[in-house]
Symmetry: C2
Subunit: 395 residues, 2 copies
């Protein structure tokens, strides 16, 4: 190194999940560590046909430079779809991003100076936490119970952190806990955001993957002002490899996000945007979503049942109504990291909970299990192995 | 706005080129303002076939999450290709980015604190300048003559700016001037970078588009150490809409760039990476490049000849040996902006030179002309209109 790295990235490490995923390169390892959609959830034949149509009908449009805001037809479809769900309000604007990750990263970039605070559910999605860290932002974790962030704790933290710019939340089937914030909590949290004049960044990658219970209104829907910034994605409902997400918020903020994106990716891969547009306007998208929900309901049920058979009862499990993840928690007397290491030795990979902490040095007793990526057979075998490890190690 | 934007983006404006490009939405306007590859340069049929092959042979690989570093087969091809050109040295690493723009943006992010200095050719590519500005970096412009940056001026600026992190340069057919830095200058500039212990960020989007003269060794090739960071792209040699570029430098720096990219785009659209790999390994890539060089040679010659016929002799023109741009300069007594406004009124769009200045308030007497996007007929007609405007306005 000729010159040191910038202060904001100097201590930024690769995602801890990636370190775990290295073990999963071993084909004998059963991975419950990923967050990939189920391969069978990809409508590959439809995508192949739509892609061929694009190149037959408008190849130059799919290959030439495009505008940073996104493919106009896709933006119009998104605006209409979000408006119909009452997520897009007058004065709002929607832009297409390279995955929801870029929507989240650029929001931090345009709002936060180094040293500013972002209030995050604790635990939360490591990709977002690292995006925030990469701007030298201070992460302050908000304690949660099974209904979501605790309003009293949140208010105390809002008082203590006047440089807080926004509250970051994954309200539906949260990563990593799988939990959904209740409607009452959403209202309380939004009221606090309004009282203290800060934004809520609502990250909703899994909302369409509900396989039980009833939909809960989004923060964006509940908001009668300009407090909520909404990030969505096609990663879990079409395919993540195409990197198509979106940001919806009041237009002044979104316009600044566009300027930020113009300096990084210029625009999102235009073929991918055309593909997403053709997909949502060609197939019956609601039927497609129902098919996905059924795939994940079956996989979740399989893993839940296998865990109930094999794991000791003292390991508590979250009960997600959608999404991709289960959160398992050991009693405090046990060493969670030692358990995860033992599991990997036995060829089952899970993600230690401290990877998701706003303060990674915090002690965690939980680990994250993914049920979308493994096959049914891998789910059965992996849960049995975890159970045997628990029975031998946790006494 | 509930909260102000971050200091680093508060004054960041959309690219001035975009303002000009708004006029070009009028189909009657002939645009010499863009920087798009010629549509006829896209191998659309080959791309359509290769894309169909991808979906027939490995659809899940093209749709699932992938690794941030890039598609392994494309990385290996790039490494071999760069090594053969002596651009990839032992200890180097190459990663695939979402266009060269992301390679440049992430380099600024990982190296620069707010208030640090980047030394830039003046004028330079506005997309890079805005990427640097978006990190609160101070841009210091280095004066140039037709051979490139002036070493004596560069050394004075290096002495005056000890927080300079790197020198940013587009050595071949520079955007906007079309000029190529001579070999002697490159050696002098690299020696200064070594003397002062800073990096050279070498942005080479147009290097393969040489249609006259002889190749000049890259900074990356001339470097016997770790001073040069190299950014390349498939935008001008395959298609820009797929957003596939790359970064090549010593591995510690590139590894940090990967961590930065993990928090923004996660990875570059994987279908696009597979397409680029299949393209370079299926076609005769050198023959493909020769075809592109011929397309641009013909277009450049057409515009140069038309300008010589129609423009007054006192407007000087750069003489690019490749790339996409000609730089035209008026005598100091004339108002360049008034001329550009008059041109747009007459339905020809060019880009005023101050858009490319490190200090946009600087007075410029130049404007940029693009010859790759317009048709032959548009080139002829547009140059005649410019000539008439010049004869009437510049007396």
């Amino acid at each position: 190194m000729l010159k040191p790295f910038s202060d904001k990235v100097a201590t930024l490490a690769p995602s801890a999940i990636r370190e775990i995923l290295k073990f999963t390169a071993d084909p004998e390892v059963i991975s419950f560590a990923a967050g990939n959609p189920a391969p069978e959830a990809f409508p590959t034949e439809t995508i192949a046909k739509l892609s061929a149509d694009i190149f037959a009908e408008e190849p130059i449009n799919a290959l030439q430079y495009s505008v940073t805001e996104g493919y106009p037809k896709l933006r119009q479809w998104l605006e209409a779809d979000l408006r119909q769900k009452n997520l897009f309000k007058d004065g709002d604007m929607v832009v297409v991003t390279s995955g929801a990750q870029q929507a989240i990263e650029v929001t931090a970039k345009i709002l936060c100076n180094e040293g500013d605070v972002i209030l995050c559910e604790n635990p939360s999605f490591i990709g977002s936490l690292n995006a925030f860290r990469s701007y030298g932002v201070k992460l302050v974790g908000v304690p949660m119970d099974k209904d979501g962030m605790l309003p009293s704790e949140l208010e105390a933290l809002l008082k203590a952190n006047p440089t807080a710019k926004f509250i970051y939340t994954i309200p539906n089937f949260q990563n990593p806990t799988g939990q959904t914030t209740t409607l009452a909590r959403r209202k309380d949290i939004l009221a606090l955001a309004k009282k203290y004049g800060i934004y809520v960044l609502e990250d909703n990658p899994y909302g369409a993957l509900r396989f039980a219970g009833e939909d809960v209104s989004c923060y964006k829907e509940l908001d009668d002002g300009k407090n909520v910034i909404y990030a969505g994605t096609f990663s879990k409902v079409l395919a993540p490899g195409i990197r198509v997400g979106y940001l919806c918020a009041e237009s002044e903020l979104v316009s600044k996000a566009v300027v930020g994106m113009q300096t990084s990716t210029v625009h999102t891969n235009i073929w991918a945007q055309m593909l997403a547009y053709r997909f949502v306007t060609t197939v019956d998208f609601n039927e497609h979503l129902k098919g996905l929900q059924e795939i994940y309901r079956v996989k979740y049920t399989r893993m839940k049942d296998a865990l109930k058979i094999h794991l000791p009862e003292f390991i508590s499990l979250s009960e997600p109504e959608g999404g991709l993840f289960i959160w398992a928690t050991l009693p405090e007397k046990y060493d969670m990291n030692a358990f995860c290491v033992e599991a990997v030795k036995r060829k089952v990979a899970v993600v230690p909970g401290n990877a998701f902490s706003t303060d990674e040095s915090e002690i965690s007793h939980s680990f994250r299990l993914n049920f979308s990526t493994p096959t049914n057979e891998q789910i059965d075998m992996g849960c049995e192995i975890l159970g045997n490890a628990a029975k031998e190690l946790l006494k």
